[in-house]
Subunit: 391 residues, 2 copies
DNA sequence: TTTGTGTGTTTGAACGTTCAAAACACCGAA
DNA sequence: TTCGGTGTTTTGAACGTTCAAACACACAAA
């Protein structure tokens, strides 16, 4: 039988010990940490030295209990389809943790308890136990029950993904339509006049926006454009994550048709893989000489494809920073955002749409679209415009 | 100017209010929550009713301060190469949060502060502030500075990934060698006699183990086997995430050689993509009629390939549960694990190695290896054996 | 009746910090 | 000399909970 927990206060010193060591009172040490300008410089030095000496760090529980500030933000993990997880979850989380850390905040991960999986209950629990100062929601839909719930609760929150017009505009999102519009411009610059789009799960707002941005820009430039799956077809569901067969079939059909597209934009990197397959199945080649292809998300997959896949890169660090900034604005000053923030993406050009050899520069690029800038991996990047949308 | 924070204690009731409502004392309510068997059933009912009535939940900070238990586990996010992130991070985290939640624990995510990125400092901060009861480390190497550090600190911890013989054996890991051995058996059953392996970053212990398991089982079965990149070649680095060119080149060279393998196992799903490319570049076909290919991790990518990729699925939920179990054993009872736990993987057979049409069952499978069992998606799964390794 | 024994409940104290207010030291002006 | 003012430091109380010990009571044994 084990000898029990017996927490031995591993080296953890208290504020009282620091005070004694520095020859001051409790509160002076507290002030030295929380409001140094109130402490005489000479005293501050002594206290700081004692703190370092003893390796003191305030007990977060005691701090929270007294002050009310938890210094912790809750991230509600979206319950996504295990077959089609959000491809940027991990990267976004890292960015979020870093952005929060820069503001002295930690990130608490939570999820609706399986198998029921009621997000509202999970939120209630966390808030009732006062474990967080605010919440970060992700993969938010236009009419999202989670948004309505947290708004009703009155908890500070922000969302990655825009909310509907009737709801609080605490969101940060990328410009999905501008991203695919930039893709269209890129393809147009390369000389493509007939272009296709492969989407999936068009009921998701970001997917719908990508499709819409594609079609709008193509129309504006006078290009011939077709988006798959065609609206109203069962393909919309079938082209989803479960089986990619129908998507490939649809793309192949288009490639066999009279108006064969010379380029295809995909709503995700995985969908681009279906395009690759379809192109090859039709005996065509992916890339400049054949059918140009682009993806979305810029996952590691892009570099492992042959040719490497041109894709839309999301500014994850900027998104995370904006979210934390807006959230802490509410927590600290009660500053409720009145409008969402829309961030620009970056198009990373690789062999699938650009040039056979990766690393070649843009040749004489004086066109209408934004000028290219060389990205980290020798590929060319063209940013889409940033806007701060009004609520 | 905003009107200030003014935290209005949103609906949060205290234990005192519950006590008053139930006509008992503070401590009885506390007992009702923490040691119900000490409370008379009749009283318990009254207290429970009051708790529900008022929507009471104990303040976690107050609880932690007094009892010492934080009810929170820290997860140290590995600082991986952004070009080659751990492909199961997101899924593992979800499983970890669920497993922790089932035990009433939350998960706090933290990372070394960029740009320096010293894990030890990040750990010290978290522990000194007493924000967690224990730590979960991931992507652990044999001689890992983080392990040495937490062991020195005396904090309860576990690791996903085995530790070296001289170190505490608080690990949970998958049987990497058994996983690739199962792959070899699977390929042998299909009739393959000459097989290849494509690895990368062989300095990582799990990658080394996959390679070793592959070679050992091939030798045992008397198969002709070649593992890429060949030891001592610069390809070991070049075949990594950065550019997949060299990997493709090496595989192609092997396919052109006199002893052309009829099957290829890859150390990850992304590497399998390189194999696909090489096979096709040589004018061959991936799948039963041509070159069989297998991957590792069973990422969503597998289903989007044509043919769909046979891959090794990791028991993420079991891993997370084992980690939480071992960690809480230390936290609650001081039960220090004396040996690591090795978990079995599952081989998900799809078209790239099995049969042209996905969904077909294993035909008369009375061979030497473990019997097949049908997995969720109509593919066939064969488990590798589980062992509990001795420290 | 007294004494013990166990069960259920209450009371006082403590966890480590910050808030609120009071105390102190010092300065220059009245 | 007194007074107010300012800057710095200290003191008492509080945050909401659980620990440790005390208490009340019923019942059995002495």
């Amino acid at each position: 039988m084990p000898e029990g927990p017996q927490r031995p206060r591993r080296g953890a010193s208290t504020i009282e010990e620091v005070a004694r060591a520095a020859g001051v009172s409790r509160q002076t040490v507290s002030n030295a940490l929380n409001a140094p300008q109130r402490v005489r410089p000479e005293t501050l030095d002594r206290v700081t030295a004692a703190i370092r000496e003893l390796g003191y760090q305030p007990d977060q529980s005691a701090r929270s209990l007294r002050s009310g500030a938890r210094r912790t933000l809750g991230y509600l993990a979206p319950v996504d389809d295990p077959l089609d997880p959000n491809p940027l979850m991990a990267g976004f989380l890292e960015a979020l943790v870093d952005a929060a850390g820069a503001e002295g905040q930690r990130v608490l991960l939570f999820r609706p308890a399986p198998p029921a999986g009621d997000p509202a209950a999970a939120i209630d629990e966390l808030v009732a136990a006062r474990q967080v100062d605010g919440l970060v929601l992700a993969d938010v839909l236009a009419e999202d029950a989670r948004i309505a719930h947290v708004a009703r609760l009155g908890v500070p929150f922000v969302s990655f993904g825009r909310t509907g017009p009737g709801q609080p505009q605490h969101w940060v999102d990328i410009a999905n339509d501008a991203a695919t519009a930039a893709v269209v411009r890129h393809l147009a610059e390369l000389g493509h006049r007939r272009i296709g789009y492969l989407g999936a799960a068009e009921d998701l707002p970001w997917m719908a926006a990508r499709r819409a941005g594609f079609l709008a820009e193509a129309r504006r430039l006078g290009l011939s454009a077709v988006a798959l799956p065609a609206p109203g077809t069962a393909g919309a569901a079938a082209a989803g994550p479960g089986g990619s067969g129908p998507a490939v079939t649809a793309v192949r059909a288009l490639l066999r048709g009279p108006e064969r597209p010379t380029a295809f934009a995909a709503g995700s990197d995985l969908l681009a893989l279906d395009v690759y397959e379809a192109v090859r199945a039709e005996g065509l080649v992916v890339g400049p000489g054949g059918v140009a292809v682009t993806g979305f998300h810029d996952t590691p997959l892009c570099r492992h494809l042959h040719p490497a896949l041109t894709s839309v890169r999301l500014p994850l660090r900027a998104i995370a920073a904006a979210l934390v900034d807006r959230l802490l604005g509410q927590v600290r000053d009660g500053a409720v955002p009145s409008a969402g923030a829309e961030l620009a993406t970056e198009l990373v050009v690789r062999g699938s749409s650009g040039w056979p050899l990766p690393g070649r520069q843009l040749a004489g690029d004086g066109g209408a679209a934004a000028g290219g800038q060389v990205a980290a991996d020798g590929a060319t990047a063209a940013g889409s415009q940033a806007t701060a949308g009004a609520g």
